[in-house]
Symmetry: C2
Subunit: 405 residues, 2 copies
DNA sequence: TTACTTTGTCAATTAAATGAACAATATAAT
DNA sequence: ATTATATTGTTCATTTAATTGACAAAGTAA
């Protein structure tokens, strides 16, 4: 635990309070005595901390828990019904909103498609309207913060957000300032892969195996969110986890990023479609027509169309090469694969990748590896954005609760 | 700052004490008031903390500092003369010892060559004798801990150390237990690349730019130590930073690790020598004979022998490809390159790598990158091993000081 | 029914950081 | 040279947060 500033009484209390709240959130419901044991603090201390939190309304006492022995204990919960956050995910074609309680339960999910050629300004306005509507619509809860996940890495310069890649035509657009101006609650800007990685950690009760984790966003690009000891690795320039631009062939084709043989050129969904299209033009036999849609391609893979399946498998093999490099570099305890490519044919993906990993890793490493497909019920990216917003509130709840109650 | 255990008074003091000691170590010499400002604590608090440390003998008051204004201030130092640690580095052919004060000054450096074919047991015995001799030889100082840096990643299983690669023939040897049995002070086992990375951070006064750092050990293998927020990234299986086994050609030659086209196969010093030897056999003109030594090869590169220089440059270019992947994955703020390949011809290495990086990175990324050659006076690996030993003592000094004074 | 556990709380206590005051002693201004 | 001002380091009373120990309440096991 690295601390760069001394701990006075105020900070001590704040840290202990944040710890207690986070333990409570993970357990969803537990007694004061249990919290004391988890935090290595005494029961009396927890009584004090929880007392304040109950007074503020953030925590509520619920049912009586019947343990194995002794005095009945009182269940505690974070009042997610009353205090909530919104998470936003933006892609090229649509955006999604989720509204969750500070304790993590999902209250509302929305999705809006984005008309083609809609300008950035109009899109932002539309998103702001949707969010405001969601906020104003429900009177029982109070929205404390908003997390917005955007595709691709960005640089934060003088308050403005400058995208490093230009995945959705927002290059240089001051998205953070725009959103912040529109709302009088904190707005958090997050990279999509980071959000998804954080969701895998935050929403999991067994956090030990997920404190060091990589979430691979395998879609139109190949991104990755990295967690080290429960903290997001943003990187010195905000591009950590950009495995899509690690080279798997130093002499391969040139990428727009400057590098050669970037992973993304081999195994993004765009690369897959391109290869299939090319082989169709070359006369390969398949149930697909030359102008197939992504849906049709997915169906073809699932129906085991030879061409589609073969190229999808190839995609998975390339991705596996990237994953091997990720393991040899960052060595995360758990790897979760999500987004479009993972959803197309999860079992094929898993089988193909595992076969490659087994080949390309030392047996001792392969034996200890946790790798899985994202199975979260709701969109990991939007959920992660919400989780990060919730975390920022829960780390210092009184700073926000008392602000303007 | 993630805390997994609550903070009671004892822990509060312990954390503040550790912070004060670390600030003092970084500054080498400063006043109580300066420490108070750095730690965001009050002067009275520092007086208390420093009082204890002076009583214990760990900190001493030195000269009077004349500041710009006001009361004279009293200089404080960690008593590195009295309390010291030993750092050990082991390679295939030699081992080195450094003895440093807890404040970081070097007191003694030793190097021993290892006779070829010496058994592991004999080697360990020999090292233990050397270390014991170093401990007993100086009566003024007390050695508090020993850090041992070994090449390559290892798995820690039931107290035993199992090497993942077998770089020095120690596969399965319980080195940690052996060393710990021989000494009654803490013995720390460290990966060599991690040690070197830690040295770059620990011995630097400007720690802000070095909290997120990668140290590349470019020698017979290609290893890398990673720092995230001042903490070593060991990885879930202890192989984080093994960039030597990231593939730069997914279809390249098979590596002993199972992967194909591993970076190490292209740009380790072994790979360089192999390529040069092959071209000599093919009749390429060079000042080198077919049975050249590493020293002769280095000389040839420095003398700008066309063949040697060309192949060395190629080596650097391959390494650059690996560095680009490292940047796109972990995005460290600073990259330091060290070991054999860096020492051969630092300027050529730097020029060649920078040219490649400029090509293969986005301009915005390249512009912000810090990349340098290791220029530490003493061996970074042994120094880092010592630094990690020192850190373990300084984090909780009273636990060790009072142990058996 | 009794013995034993466990929970949650309260008041008294302990421990650590702080605030305020002070002496000592620098530099800067006059 | 003198005065004003600033800074350091200490002391001690004070504040704050966690702990201790005791206790009532309420459960299980014997």
């Amino acid at each position: 635990m690295s601390v760069t500033s001394g701990i006075n009484h105020a900070k001590q209390l704040k840290l202990n309070r944040a710890l207690v709240i986070d333990s409570l959130r993970r357990q969803q419901c537990c007694s004061r005595a249990e919290l004391a044991r988890m935090a290595n603090l005494k029961r009396a201390t927890i009584t004090n901390i929880i007392g304040e939190l109950i007074d503020s309304g953030l925590v509520v006492e619920t049912e009586i828990l019947n343990g194995t022995k002794g005095h009945r204990s009182i269940g505690l919960r974070i009042n997610g019904h009353r205090y909530q956050v919104i998470g936003v995910m933006v892609t090229r074609t649509s955006y999604s909103l989720v509204r969750i309680g500070l304790s993590g339960e999902v209250y509302e999910v929305q999705s809006q498609s984005i008309p083609p050629h809609l300008g950035v300004d109009e899109l932002i306005l539309d998103m702001e309207r949707s969010i405001k509507h969601m906020i104003e619509e429900n009177h029982e809860s109070r929205i404390m913060a908003i997390g917005v996940a955007v595709p691709g890495p960005y640089l934060q310069r003088e308050g403005e957000v400058v995208f490093v890649t230009n995945r959705i035509g927002w290059d240089g657009f001051p998205i953070s300032a725009r959103f912040q101006d529109a709302f009088d609650i904190p707005v958090l800007l997050v990279n999509d892969a980071n959000a998804a990685a954080y969701a895998q950690y935050w929403f999991s009760s067994e956090d030990d195996t997920r404190r060091n984790l990589a979430y691979i966003v395998a879609g139109q690009g190949i991104g990755c969110g990295l967690l080290f000891d429960g903290e997001l690795v943003q990187g010195a320039m905000g591009i950590a986890g950009e495995i899509g631009h690690t080279s798997i062939d130093y002499n391969g084709p040139k990428c727009e990023c400057g590098n050669r043989g970037c992973l993304e050129l081999y195994c993004s969904s765009l690369a897959l479609e391109k290869r299939v299209r090319q082989r169709l033009q070359e006369g390969a036999s398949s149930c697909l027509g030359e102008n197939f849609s992504t849906q049709e391609l997915t169906a073809a893979i699932r129906a085991q169309d030879p061409l589609a399946l073969e190229e999808y498998r190839k995609n998975c093999e390339y991705l596996a090469v990237g994953i091997v490099s990720l393991i040899n570099q960052f060595d995360p305890g758990t790897i979760v694969i999500g987004d479009q490519l993972a959803q197309m044919a999860p079992k094929v993906l898993m089988d193909t990748i595992c076969r490659q990993l087994k080949d390309r890793l030392r047996p001792a490493i392969w034996a200890e590896l946790h790798i899985e497909i994202d199975t979260m019920e709701h969109n990991s990216i939007a959920m992660g954005a919400a989780a990060m917003a919730a975390r920022s509130i829960l780390q210092d709840p009184f700073g926000y609760l008392n602000a303007e109650l």
